[in-house]
Symmetry: C2
Subunit: 441 residues, 2 copies
């Protein structure tokens, strides 16, 4: 078998690689090798327990691949032979390639704790998730280890069941602490507590024990939490085995090394998504961000560069949004504390305004925006937001602003559409108000 363009992996990065490669190369043969018969949508995983009626509702449609005339092979790549430019599959077949895109994804990060095998992981595996769904839906007490996005979203989803007692264990001082400053993280925690979620922060898991089907999570402070089921969600680690075996360069303790065109150390081999090393837009440093949206951006860049280096990856701005019990939170770029860690001198602009105008309109609530600018050039380098659902796309205004290297002055004098029922008032539009505040400093 042969393919002009071969893609390993059927997650968002793989699919976007294939579809974008087709747009640019109408006549090439494109093959995508995917291990899973049914590929789950990773972002949807926290919502398979209640909001979705089954895991079948969280399956990536194969239709875009068919429409793009991409051959889909359900098989597993077990070896890449970079000199012979071919990939060996588990069922025994080999596929020659002209261009290879490695999108082998990531797996749950593990921790060396006794009894950790009792915990479920966030695996992107249909059968595994089916079992996990049944188990969690039956369980009364559930402990989630890790208060990042997935952990918090899973807790929120499960807290929708009246008869469940949900607990989160987070090693840092707050949930979502990597992406938000304290005031935002605390607001998220309040929303979880309102739904009855127990939050234990600043503690480690010491061990997990089981006694007659009842599990116990023992914390570093001595506390022992009873659990019918436990879920481990402390992050992900890149799948680099295939690359390593092929002697494709992998960053120390990191992902597959790529240049700014998403090329690996092997000729005609690209890597994208969770398996590829991501760098920070602002500092250029390696960052362990694994996000479907970043994976898709990398995939589009790789697909554009297959036959000629055209589009550079500027690094990720790390744009996130989440929804917790009615509160939407968004973040992009640096937090205040991250700027401190990086030694960047900053100015902060804040705004808190009603999301409708006049504020007497039904359903009005506050939008809170915190903008972080470098002190010297007054360049926007970070933003945190919370409020109603409109905050998700408002975060994207700021994501684009950071990527286009906007200054406080440029943002303060920008024009935005406003509407009484949809946005804050034009007199106090929060991105402008927060920027104006910084201009005076």
């Amino acid at each position: 078998m042969k393919a002009d363009i071969l893609i390993i992996g059927g997650g968002p990065a793989g699919i976007v690689s294939a579809v974008t490669a087709r747009q640019k190369n109408p006549k090439k043969t494109i093959t995508l090798v995917r291990r899973e018969e049914k590929a789950v949508i990773p972002c949807g995983l926290p919502y398979i327990f209640k909001r979705l009626k089954s895991i079948d509702e969280d399956i990536m449609p194969d239709n875009p691949l068919k429409k793009a005339n991409v051959n889909l092979l359900i098989d597993e790549a077990v070896r890449i032979e970079v000199k012979k430019k071919k990939v060996v599959l588990k069922k025994g077949e080999e596929i020659g390639y002209k261009k290879l895109i490695l999108a082998s994804g990531s797996e749950t990060q593990l921790i060396p704790v006794q009894g950790i095998d009792y915990a479920w992981q966030i695996k992107k595996d249909y059968q595994y998730l089916s079992q996990m769904r049944r188990a969690l839906n039956k369980a009364r007490e559930i402990v989630i280890i890790g208060g990042g996005f997935i952990g918090v979203e899973l807790a929120e989803e499960l807290s929708g069941f009246k008869n469940k007692e949900i607990s989160i264990i987070e090693i840092l001082d707050h949930c979502l602490s990597v992406n938000f400053d304290d005031e935002f993280a605390e607001a998220a925690e309040r929303k979880l507590k309102e739904k009855g979620v127990n939050i234990y922060t600043g503690v480690r898991v010491k061990k997990i024990s089981q006694n007659k089907k009842i599990k116990y999570v023992v914390l570093s402070n001595g506390k022992k939490i009873r659990a019918d089921e436990i879920v481990l969600s402390i992050g992900a680690r890149p799948n680099v085995e295939l690359a390593e075996k092929a002697e494709i360069r992998v960053e120390p303790k990191g992902a597959v090394k790529v240049d700014s065109y998403m090329r690996t150390s092997a000729k005609d081999v690209f890597a994208v998504g969770d398996c590829a090393q991501t760098r920070d837009f602002i500092t250029g440093k390696k960052v362990p961000i694994m996000l479907a949206s970043v994976a898709c951006a990398e995939a589009r860049i790789a697909a554009a560069n297959l036959y000629k280096a055209k589009v550079r990856n500027p690094g990720t701005v790390g744009a996130f949004s989440t929804f917790i019990n009615g509160l939407t939170l968004g973040a992009v770029g640096f937090t205040q504390k991250r700027a401190k860690t990086e030694g960047i001198d900053i100015l902060i602009g804040k705004a808190e305004v009603p999301n409708h105008h006049p504020s007497k309109l039904p359903g009005t609530g506050p939008i809170i925006v915190k903008l972080i600018f470098s002190r010297k050039e007054k360049l926007l380098i970070g933003a945190e937001l919370m409020g109603p659902e409109s905050v998700a796309e408002l975060t994207n205004v700021l994501s684009l602003a950071i990527q286009r290297k906007i200054t406080a002055s440029q943002l303060a004098f920008s024009q935005f559409a406003t509407h009484p029922l949809l946005t804050p008032a034009p007199t106090v539009y929060p991105l402008i108000s927060a920027s104006l505040e910084v201009l005076g400093k």
Copy 2:
């Protein structure tokens, strides 16, 4: 009396001028002269009939002026003496100024039609609106002349009453036709029709007659529509009398002439908002756009330039959003038909994607995006969107993109935050999909 900075007009442009001037000039005396005891929020006017319980819920708070230590004078400016640098007020007082900002606003555009006096106008006047609210709330049959944003929003608001029969008369082929191409305008019309609104397009009002308190609107096609009340909302005309009397230059059939720093022809006199001439961001041509968001942007620019010309007004991109019976529509920059009128060769990228992912999540509906790029540089020059409420801030992503002169390639490789419950999937994020489509052309 004297003021370092004097502002005439208490609408959004006046208030933002005052508050922004204060931020930049902590020690100056600032006075704002406003005719109205209570200033209504203009954007909220369509919603005073049902969503708001009274006009008192649509009043601009004076608190921001107090907080900014701005003297508020309730009086009417009747004459500006540009040589003596003073303004004469109706109650007889005079105020000297060092810098004057004219924010005298606009009034309803009238039409020379017999019986037009029977129609209510969209006046920003508390007493008048109180009478109008009572009359419209009593009326069963209401005819709205003009299917622009205000007309359509008013029709939608009034259609919320079960016992009312609402009709819109629009001279163009579609409602909202100035700001949207047909497919979007038609979707808006369908949403109005679902609420029982009668829409008559492509017709003029020939005359209005009254017989025993029942009014009749006679159309150019001969049709006669019965009406208990009639509202005229065909647009606004700038209030330029004060400027004209002071021999400040006014554009022919237009507004007060201003340069790109918002300076009028008179020394130390600035004009902002509806009374000031607005120019188009893309063409630089005069455009009759009167929007609170544009007024506020102009006010911030003028306030920044009072003592030194610093910030240029790049012209307006005309960013709009509206909400009609559950459908949010947004537009910014050029429509397809406007590009044709202006003789600009364009490329169009479209996307229609679910607003959640997976699409089986509750409350999922489509977002439709149409992006308009110049063919030559593939520069984004316009966008139209419709879908759920997130479309309002998604429009603002594109508003910023146009203002930052983004190309299809830059937009296609941009990063945006995505979330299952909040946005389309990262694989098909509509701004990216629509841009990628254009890249191949």
